[in-house]
């Protein structure tokens, strides 16, 4: 068992590293190669109005005169050693630019995750504990509604109501508490909905299991049944979903930060896209992938330790001996 886990962990770690490197290459292809030569496309684009000297300076700084495979290799080895290169526009180190805006996005992201878990948990509890006819139906409809509203509409709605009507915050002061609060709520709506959908489905599934009926027949009341029996098996798979949502937060921050006028990773992406600052774009996308892969790696490594059912064995049909009986015992088998 111990050994099986170490083998599994080692495999997952190697796989994660491979995926990160491949993602960098993929991003490089999409950002720097697919649109064509950046010198003609970006620098010599009359709209951008670079002077010839500036162009030469940028070419020299970025090394754009070298063959593309060499550029990729240099960029990749720089990335691995923590050197994210220089901005094509300002010439400043990309790492510094990201570091400047990172705290704001981290605050937003952590508040978002907190709100998402609270909202999803409330929906999950309501879906089981409220009266079946009316309460449950409404609560169960919430995730579907949340997932059908464009994120920027939620943001605009909150700004309209709480910013303009109630005057809780001003749009020109996006870092005030209430502005941050409502930006997180905006970002949390689709995230909480996705977590809640999985949670409610799992809770429904668990409460249909025979063991829930047996526990009720044992005289357990609904509240204890929910917290003692249903919550743990239902929320274990949610660990994986939360990890997946980290990517969602990073992606949607782009819209939310634009709507609320916040400075952050998302607005930096937005700015780099409009100024075609390719190194910045490349760095942010690659870092987002690193965060996503690492968080999911952690989730995958922690999950088998949390769930006693997970057996880290190959999916080989295991013949049982006669004395073991043939009751169908569920086992979650993690395989590669």
């Amino acid at each position: 068992m111990r050994n099986a886990y170490l083998v599994y962990a080692a495999k997952r770690i190697v796989q994660a590293v491979v995926v990160i490197l491949l993602t960098y290459v993929f991003t490089f292809i999409v950002v720097s190669i697919l649109p064509g030569d950046p010198v003609t496309n970006v620098l010599r684009n009359p709209q951008n109005g670079f002077s010839e000297e500036e162009i030469q300076a940028i070419i020299a700084a970025q090394g754009l005169d070298r063959p593309i495979p060499v550029q990729l290799w240099d960029a990749l080895s720089g990335f691995v050693t923590g050197d994210l290169g220089l901005s094509m526009r300002s010439g400043r180190p990309v790492a510094t630019m990201i570091a400047e805006v990172l705290p704001s996005t981290l605050i937003l992201a952590s508040m978002t995750l907190a709100f998402s878990l609270i909202i999803a948990g409330l929906i999950g509890y309501g879906s089981q504990a409220l009266p079946r006819k009316y309460g449950q139906g409404i609560v169960r409809g919430i995730p579907s509604l949340f997932l059908s509203v464009p994120n920027f509409v939620i943001g605009l709605l909150l700004i309209h109501i709480f910013g303009f009507q109630f005057g809780l915050f001003r749009v020109i002061d996006p870092n005030s508490f209430w502005a941050t609060f409502f930006a997180s709520v905006t970002l949390a709506t689709p995230i909480s909905a996705q977590i809640a959908e999985v949670l409610v489905a799992n809770l429904d599934n668990e409460s249909r299991q025979e063991y829930a009926a047996v526990a009720r027949a044992r005289g357990l009341r609904q509240v204890r049944l929910f917290f003692l029996h249903l919550l743990k098996p239902s929320s274990l798979p949610v660990v994986t979903v939360i990890a997946l949502m980290v990517g969602e937060v990073l992606g949607n921050a782009l819209i939310t930060e634009t709507v609320f006028g916040r400075t952050g990773i998302g607005s930096l992406v937005q700015r780099s896209v409009s100024t075609q600052d390719l190194p910045v774009l490349q760095a942010i996308v690659s870092l987002a992938a690193v965060v996503f892969v690492v968080v999911n790696l952690i989730a995958d490594l922690v999950y088998p330790l949390l769930d006693p059912r997970v057996k880290l064995v190959g999916a080989v049909r295991r013949p049982t001996t006669a004395d073991e009986g043939s009751a169908n015992i569920p086992s979650r088998v993690v395989t590669e």
């Binding site: 099986a4 079946r132 299991q209 025979e210 063991y211 009926a213 047996v214 526990a215 009720r216 027949a217 044992r218 005289g219 357990l220 009341r221 003692l228 029996h229 743990k232 098996p233 274990l236 769930d307 006693p308 059912r309 064995v313 190959g314 080989v316 049909r317 295991r318 013949p319 049982t320 001996t321 006669a322 004395d323 073991e324 009986g325 043939s326 009751a327 169908n328 015992i329 569920p330 086992s331």
Partner: protein
């Protein structure tokens, strides 16, 4: 230990309240419906204190719904009307708050599938404490002692280990013992057991039923047993209620209903139970015994071994297995789960390759054959799967399903194929109206007929039947067996019949191999095996066949070994 004096009560029933007069449980005019659809109609029966009653029926008979009405565990969309009186209290109308004190303390529940009846992510001990909480014993340590004592009483070898375990770490038989223990721990007056053994192997079934009977007698509990097996019910209970389509067909004392059923349905049910009618198909089968002597071996398996490695451990799934099947006869491979019977037929069909040994089908050796060559063999060797709910592609129509092998092997012109499909369907008793249906629109029995027709349409010599009726109701099983045996009589087919059901094997097989842990432990004609078994394992299997009231065991429940042997 201070708790020593507390450890004695469990076996002697604690009488807390004065007994009220009248039956313990009375069900009157109970109807249950899901939406517009009524699944139980006007059912009524009575169960006295310390007595036992069985609700018998096939799938869709409403027997489980009745049990769940008594337990008040019906799903939210179900509506129950009528009266259920438990210990003088009308419980259907009771608010949940007033009914909850009866749960566990008044009415205990033993569920069908022990593998799903305990929370998989909590230890058995944690869940046992929930049942122990009903004992009014404030000290957790004493409660634990009581739990361990009860675990020992229900025949768990190592109660301490069971207490610490997660459910998936115990076998099905042990889990069912745990569940029975938890159900009787708070000393309920009534135990509702819903098919408590149908998910277990035959020898374990017997032991679990014996445990239930013994506890019922020792603790003076009333038992409401839900089962599809008439023989089991007759053996274990005082009264029977036979259900069909949600209403009572016949009810009365076991002796009366079992030995002289008055309703047509109960008579048919009795006639269809293999254990009670060993000679039912004698007329169809017995001519085949002549072929045992003169028939050439259609299938010869000699010295076949197959190993799998699991977790680095090598497991011999099939160990030096040999048998031969003369043409036109039925050979049964009998064993419990894990005995290697399924692996044996996969080797026989060439789906897996043996490590050692030879398999010959109709004189052609299978070993080392290419895919192409195996195709030629499959033309003459077909398989009918255990579960007709998974062996037919749900997106295809019946006509297409049955014609698939003809199309694949390019047999005849398209028009001839259509004819052959109709013939094959007719030979299993399905008319033309089924041609355009999809499997989802068929019942289990109809699906298995389609599967048999599909195997037949190639006109094979050998059909391998992998528990072909184990997913079906007993009356449907009887129909399918009838079809199979008349086809054999007509076409001279050779069958390899895999089953765990000895009673069924006794009805239809000519020769039998008993498998245990990958080996054939005993081999012989059906007469030799059933009338004169030589191996203890075979004898234990035979003993596990429920025999109805004559061989009933619940009158002397102490005569049997209690502990489950753990290998």
């Amino acid at each position: 230990m201070a708790s020593q004096d507390k450890l004695t009560p469990p076996l002697t029933r604690i009488v807390t309240a004065p007994r009220r007069a009248g039956p313990l449980l009375r069900v009157e005019d109970l109807s249950v419906s899901y939406g517009p659809q009524e699944v139980v109609t006007g059912v009524g029966f009575e169960l006295g204190r310390g007595e036992s009653l069985a609700l018998i029926g096939e799938s869709g008979s409403g027997k489980s719904t009745i049990a769940r009405s008594v337990l008040r565990l019906l799903p939210g969309n179900a509506r129950a009307t009528g009266r259920i009186t438990f210990d003088g209290q009308e419980i259907l109308a009771l608010p949940e708050r007033r009914f909850r004190p009866l749960r566990g303390r008044g009415i205990g529940f033993v569920p069908q599938d022990p593998g799903n009846a305990l929370n998989p992510v909590r230890t058995i001990g944690a869940q046992a404490q929930e049942a122990a909480a009903l004992l009014d014993e404030p000290d957790k340590a004493i409660r634990k002692e009581l739990i361990l004592e009860t675990f020992a009483q229900v025949g768990l070898d190592n109660p301490g280990r069971a207490y610490e375990s997660y459910p998936h770490q115990l076998s099905g038989g042990m889990l069912q013992r745990v569940l029975i223990g938890l159900a009787v721990l708070p000393r309920p007056a009534l135990l509702v057991a819903d098919e408590p053994t149908s998910a277990l192997d035959v020898t374990i079934q017997k032991r679990i039923l014996e445990l239930l009977s013994r506890l019922q007698q020792d603790l003076d509990i009333s038992l409401l047993l839900i089962t599809h097996d008439l023989a089991v019910a007759a053996e274990r209970t005082d009264a029977l209620v036979v259900l069909k389509g949600g209403s009572v067909q016949e009810a009365g004392s076991t002796a009366a209903v079992f030995s002289a059923p008055s309703s047509a349905y109960a008579r048919k049910l009795r006639a269809d139970v293999p254990a009670l009618n060993p000679d039912r198909y004698a007329a169809l089968r017995d001519p085949g015994f002549a072929r045992l002597a003169d028939g050439k071996a259609k299938i010869a398996v000699s010295g076949v071994t197959k190993t799998f490695s699991v977790d680095g451990k090598v497991l011999k799934a099939v160990d030096d297995v040999s048998f031969a099947v003369p043409a036109g006869t039925t050979h049964a491979l009998v064993g419990e789960s894990g005995s290697g019977k399924t692996t044996t037929i996969r080797l026989l069909l060439g789906l897996d390759q043996p490590d050692h040994g030879d398999i010959t089908v109709a004189g052609t050796p299978l070993a080392g054959r290419s895919q192409q060559a195996l195709h030629a063999v499959w033309r003459h060797l077909q398989l009918v799967y255990q579960n007709p709910f998974t062996s037919l592609d749900p997106t295809w129509k019946v006509e297409h399903l049955v014609r698939e092998p003809l199309d694949r092997f390019r047999i005849g012109t398209p028009k001839e194929r259509g004819e052959q499909v109709r013939e094959a369907l007719a030979s299993v008793g399905l008319g033309e109206q089924f041609l355009s249906r999809r499997p989802t629109a068929l019942s289990g029995g109809q699906r298995q007929r389609v599967a048999i027709a599909r195997a037949l349409v190639l006109k094979p010599d050998v059909i391998v039947l992998d528990e072909p009726t184990s997913a079906l109701d007993v009356s449907v099983q009887a129909d399918i067996v009838e079809v199979l045996l008349s086809l054999q009589a007509k076409l001279g087919l050779t069958y390899v019949f895999v089953s765990h059901d000895l009673a069924l094997v006794r009805q239809i097989a000519h020769t039998v191999s008993v498998m245990h842990r990958g080996r054939i432990v005993e081999h012989g004609t059906v007469g030799e095996i059933f009338d004169n078994p030589r191996q203890p394992y075979t004898r234990s299997l035979l003993k596990s066949i429920p025999s109805g009231i004559e061989g009933g065991t619940h009158r002397n429940p102490h005569a049997f070994p209690l502990k489950e042997q753990i290998a």
